[in-house]
Symmetry: C2
Subunit: 421 residues, 2 copies
């Protein structure tokens, strides 16, 4: 009997609205290219270490299932935040992973994730080369933050940007409808620790019939709270309803996060990232105290990354495309690489996949260029908006059942349970 040629796919890091569309792209292309089995790691590499995986043919039974999967937010297979040790630090972990991969006749290993996940691809492909093993390791980009290097943008960003633009527009309408003769200030807090791509997307609320936010503060520029107060006061002299978008990650010149000024919460995740929250509420109280008018803070929160019901069609399609492209690359012998999206043209918008060595990508952060913000650092420029706009186009109507969007969810009967510890 010929050796099986199997493929395994995992999802890692924070969820997005379209990470499962990439999974669908991997599955569909793997089947079309004649891979024998398509395994899914349950909760990424961390689950794999527990031999926790599933044969995806027990989960996806039809074209309708593929369509449902594309519309299901968050990681269908479960995600993890697990950082592999350096190879010289702890070989045992690597030996364990490769033992499992060999046992399952894995030819190709696809990992859908952000910066931290590309670090995993880099280490595993290095280890395979160092130890003379033949598995191929390919990365599929995924992050709402859009902070991966070399790719024009990341799948997940367009849908989050669209949700943020739509929500900001609805919040602006809400604010304008309420205020009469009294000033009101609304501060919207948007995700993105170091990169302001998502916060800048609030400018999408601006259109023929709608104002955008009045001020936008990205984390790329140190936040000057005195200047901020001055800007708000200047605006209040001209209009009574003010809406401001701020990144959760804005920092003072001395490096302190604005959210730290008001809160005692200080949580650090396994990658050493501080968990940020409370920026909008802090600034709302600050302005209320200084100015005395009505203020409110709104955190867009988790829904930015999970709102599949407002996903962008371009984003879902591209997520599907990069999933498929990773399988193609692996099938053609590539390893240690990440698929990227190249923008072929702006108007009409066209994109294609490319591929880069993952060593050039891992642990690098792509920030909003300084010249895509205005001089004062209080808004994004037309270049920024022209860049984002094509990525939010089109819809994938949710498949509604009883008034609610239907999702595809893991049937745990088909999964292998974690080994007892």
């Amino acid at each position: 009997m010929a050796k099986k040629r199997n493929i395994i796919v995992g999802q890692s890091g924070g969820p997005t609205a379209v990470i499962n569309s990439s999974l669908a792209g991997v599955y569909k292309n793997a089947i079309e290219r004649g891979f024998d089995k398509v395994y899914g790691m349950i909760h990424g590499i961390q689950g794999l270490l527990d031999e926790n995986y599933v044969d995806l043919s027990t989960q996806i039974h039809s074209e309708l299932d593929i369509e449902l999967l594309k519309r299901t937010p968050s990681a269908f297979l479960g995600s993890c935040r697990y950082k592999l040790p350096e190879i010289h630090e702890d070989k045992a972990v690597y030996e364990k992973i490769f033992e499992i991969l060999n046992k399952l006749d894995i030819d190709s290993f696809i990992y859908i994730g952000g910066n931290d996940s590309m670090d995993t691809i880099k280490k595993l492909s290095d280890y395979a080369i160092l130890t003379g093993q033949n598995q191929k390791f390919l990365g599929v980009p995924k992050t709402i933050d859009n902070d991966l290097a070399l790719t024009d943008h990341t799948p997940g960003f367009g849908s989050a940007a669209k949700y943020i633009g739509v929500s900001t527009k609805e919040i602006i309408r809400d604010s304008l409808g309420l205020s009469y003769k009294k000033s009101s200030i609304t501060i919207i807090e948007i995700m993105g620790r170091n990169a302001g791509w998502l916060t800048g997307a609030s400018a999408l609320a601006q259109s023929e019939e709608s104002e955008g936010p009045d001020l936008i503060y990205l984390p790329e520029i140190p936040f000057d709270i005195d200047k901020f107060l001055e800007n708000v006061k200047a605006l209040l002299a001209k209009k009574s309803t003010i809406v401001i978008a701020v990144s959760e990650g804005i920092k003072l010149a001395d490096g302190r996060y604005v959210c730290e000024l008001g809160s005692s919460v200080d949580y650090v995740d396994v990658f050493g990232h501080k968990q940020l929250t409370g920026t909008a509420n802090y600034l709302a109280s600050f302005l209320s105290e200084k100015i005395g008018c009505k203020t409110r803070g709104i955190e867009l929160s988790t829904l930015q990354r999970s709102a599949s019901h407002m996903a962008s069609r371009v984003d879902i399609d591209e997520a599907f495309m990069v999933g498929g492209a990773a399988v193609k690359a692996a099938d053609e012998g590539d390893t240690g690489k990440m698929v990227v999206i190249d923008r072929v043209s702006d108007d009409p918008y066209m994109s294609a996949t490319g591929i880069y060595d993952v060593h050039r990508i891992a642990n690098e952060e792509k920030l909003v260029p300084r010249n895509w913000m205005n001089k004062e650092g209080t808004y994004v420029t037309k270049d920024f908006i022209d860049y984002v706009k094509p990525l939010i186009q089109g819809d994938y109507s949710p498949i509604m059942v009883n008034g609610m969007p239907r999702h595809l969810v893991l049937n745990t009967k088909g999964t292998r349970k974690p080994a007892k510890k």
Copy 2:
């Protein structure tokens, strides 16, 4: 020249996703019934007192405008929170209002709003009768809170319930995708000061393929924080990912709001309602401290009432219907009444408009019946879900322009500016 027969309409109180669908219903039916002019009060009765109003024919030019208006969140005309004095306390205000109404040849006055707005209808219709004037005053129900008496439900509730159900479902997926071997608790804070209709709607997340929230706490039942901790611990013994929905208005047995335990903010609006916020964050820190696992608080916030992009078709249609019914009632000579929605049948769902004396409605609050919650007060029953489900059915697809929902907004060139003070 025959005396003009004009109608004026205003919007009051907190915005909803469908309050403009009622405005569209008033406008369309008023034109069909041959009213000469349809005026809109800019910012409700408060704007009217400043002679701030608009001829709606300068704003609505086509059937497409009507469709856009039905899909525009928040009050198109602007809202207010303005409480009329008792008639015996301050006659001058009433004299001023009626002077303006007479000057504009107003035959019928339609006010779209919640409890506080129905108080306005009651007082104005009483005053008209007391002073022998002929204008008719009709109320159109509107509130996401669903707390108005005598109507089966209120326009605005179905869309908010749908947004809450969909968002809760997406948050549950988000939570399940992330947790692996570590417990996590997510607390979702939902609007509804005294009535738990919206918080209960989080149960809509439960379906064939999705769990609902694990616990639901409505404001109708005193919140026992020790029992709450016990319930959460019992759940954690069985599962690692827990999602809890709480009303912003849950209170301890001694009457203190839970949100007051953690925050120093204490803002009271002109109707004497405390502004509530911070319940979810307080409970998240409380559980984190007591249990030591990862917790997060999510406030659904303003978007619950402004998310037109996820409005329910039943809700938009009924909002339109009650707007039209108010015009019909006024045209037929009714006054001092509010239009209500009667549920004609459950399955298939059918509704029709009814009409009630506003004296029976104003300032009364309809709470969730005790027997629509379980014995422990930690979930809603099937009766509750069967009641809500028909109200979230169907969609009004947003009219998308450049990837964003288009709204109809007030063209202030057509409006009369407030008189100088």
